[in-house]
């Protein structure tokens, strides 16, 4: 049996970041990836955050295959054919030090894997890890699907993604529940770059994002998104599985519903769909975070449910958790103590960073939205009616119109209901 210091299961942003930091600290490291190469099994929306990535590969933007730096983020609320929008734009985000880029994961992850290889990491592809290897209660490696495929390690980092088979088998995590995952489907739609730049009011090379709430998900708890790539648009929609099942929606119908909205249709016009993708997003939040370590094992990225959906941050939480895990693995191996107790350093460092701080901050959010399914049905409608009434120049005196708007609002939601919603949102989000 071949032995390594560190085995990383899974070649996504979390796993590759973990392998990079372990190898940089002198560890003999292997990444075991089930696809033909890191990237070919990987899906996200996909926004990559500069700061976190820079901490893993300094000045990555000089070489990495990125799509567009994001200079504008819009939020739209759809109600039937109507829409309300807000946004923020700063051209300064289009140049160093940037804030975020759109990416396509096949290209980016394969580049990140090459950086890991340069740092000395072995990438073992087309190999599925089936279980951890134990000696008594101690984890001593992994069992792969290959013949004579056992590999030994002092520390195993589980970066298997949202489907947490190994973490469950190791007694660290629980099987996922339909309330805690969003089923997300996406299309990559090719469009000439001039068209993208014209439609989104962008200078050459700049990018924009739009998140869409309300009828974009047919009022289901979830969000639609549109991201500009170099010569394509990524458009997708994700909704929590439980309400999706209860409301008899299919994921593809939800996506087609979003694409048919007038505002969205115009942005995509003339484009050609190149790929249709599906992925689960862990939405369980802070309370769903599994046990993050045991003797000889660390859990990172989506497997650790490290996802801040409100701010649409996931890749950065994955990469930082991976980087810290790689460092902690190296440090504990060097001191010769990989006990569960020694591994707590990983959790402590995550708690001291934005990763678990942000999840903790939004810990009530999941429950708030779960218990208030009316929010994404009532408010987009209420707000667009209010906007329409306010903006209609039909001869009604404004004072009377304002009274009408308030009356209309209370027809949608009682005074007590409104107060409850505002208080609930304040508690969940602030």
């Amino acid at each position: 049996m071949e032995n390594f210091d560190v085995i990383v299961v899974g070649g996504g942003p979390a796993g590759l970041s973990a392998a990079l930091s372990a190898a940089k600290a002198g560890m003999k490291t292997v990444v075991i990836e089930r696809g033909d190469y890191p990237g070919t099994k990987n899906v996200m929306g996909g926004i990559l955050y500069t700061k976190a990535t820079d901490m893993v590969v300094p000045e990555f933007w000089k070489e990495a295959p990125l799509e567009r730096p994001i200079i504008e983020q819009r939020i739209a609320m759809l109600s039937g054919d109507e829409s309300i929008m807000a946004g923020y734009r700063d051209p300064a985000w289009g140049v160093e030090p940037f804030n975020a880029h759109s990416i396509l994961r096949v290209k980016f992850d394969s580049w990140l894997a090459k950086q890991a290889e340069k740092a000395g990491v072995l990438i073992l592809t087309e190999t599925l890890v089936e279980d951890l290897l134990y000696q008594d209660d101690r984890v001593v490696g992994v069992r792969t699907g290959r013949a004579e495929g056992d590999l030994g390690a002092k520390v195993v980092i589980i970066a298997e993604g949202v489907n947490n088979f190994l973490a469950v088998k190791a007694g660290l995590a629980k099987p996922l529940k339909p309330q805690a995952v969003a089923v997300t489907v996406k299309e990559v739609i090719a469009l000439p770059k001039e068209k993208i730049e014209d439609r989104f009011c962008l200078d050459e090379g700049q990018g924009a994002t739009i998140e869409l709430y309300g009828d974009s998900t047919a009022g289901l708890m979830g969000v639609g998104f549109i991201y500009t790539n170099k010569e394509s648009i990524s458009i997708g929609v994700g909704a929590i599985l439980d309400p999706m099942i209860r409301n008899n929606w299919t994921p593809n119908d939800l996506l087609e519903n979003l694409k048919s909205k007038p505002y969205v249709k115009r942005l995509l016009q003339g484009g050609e769909t190149k790929e249709y993708l599906a992925h689960l997003i862990p939405e369980g939040g802070y309370t769903s975070v599994p046990k993050l370590h045991r003797q000889g094992v660390l859990v990172v990225g989506d497997t650790a449910m490290l996802m801040n959906s409100l701010n649409r941050e996931g890749s950065n939480l994955a990469m930082i958790s991976g980087k810290i895990a790689g460092e902690v693995a190296a440090q504990t191996i060097k001191t010769g103590d990989v006990s569960d107790q020694a591994m707590t350093v990983y959790e402590t460092r995550l708690r001291d960073s934005f990763v678990l701080k942000d999840l903790h901050h939004y810990r009530h959010m999941g429950m708030f939205f779960e218990k208030n399914e009316h929010l994404l049905k009532t408010y987009p409608k209420l707000l667009s009616q209010a906007a329409k009434m306010y903006l209609s120049a039909d001869g009604t005196p404004k004072k009377a119109r304002q009274k009408e708007i308030i009356k209309m609002a209370f027809e949608h939601r009682s005074k007590l209901g409104l107060i409850k919603d505002v208080y609930g949102a304040w508690r969940a989000l602030l």
Partner: protein, 93 residues
């Protein structure tokens, strides 16, 4: 755009081994009235075969998201990843 046309765009390295099993077809027939797997799977891998009175599984088109494992109300779908090197191979991701 129809789902079948979209799935046609996806690249697969299809395994001859099926990585998905219905644990007990009787559960689908007798206990599961609603058969939500025929709707929630983004690739429509699951279909109710009225003649055979069972769920047919088109594992070749599985996009490997894992929804079925979580969504089946009876926990009756044994879904695993395909063997290493097989299954979906994204072009963009």
């Amino acid at each position: 755009m129809k789902l079948d046309d979209k799935l046609f765009l996806v690249r697969f390295n299809t395994d001859k081994l099926n990585h998905i099993k219905i644990k007990d077809p009787n559960v689908c027939l007798k206990q599961c009235e609603d058969k939500p797997c025929t709707r929630f799977c983004p690739a429509h891998v699951y279909d109710w075969d009225e003649e055979e009175k069972r769920i047919s599984v088109g594992y070749e088109g599985c996009l490997e998201c894992g929804t079925c494992l979580i969504g089946c109300p009876f926990g009756n779908i044994d879904w695993k990843y395909p063997r290493g090197g097989f299954g979906v191979s994204w072009k963009n991701g």
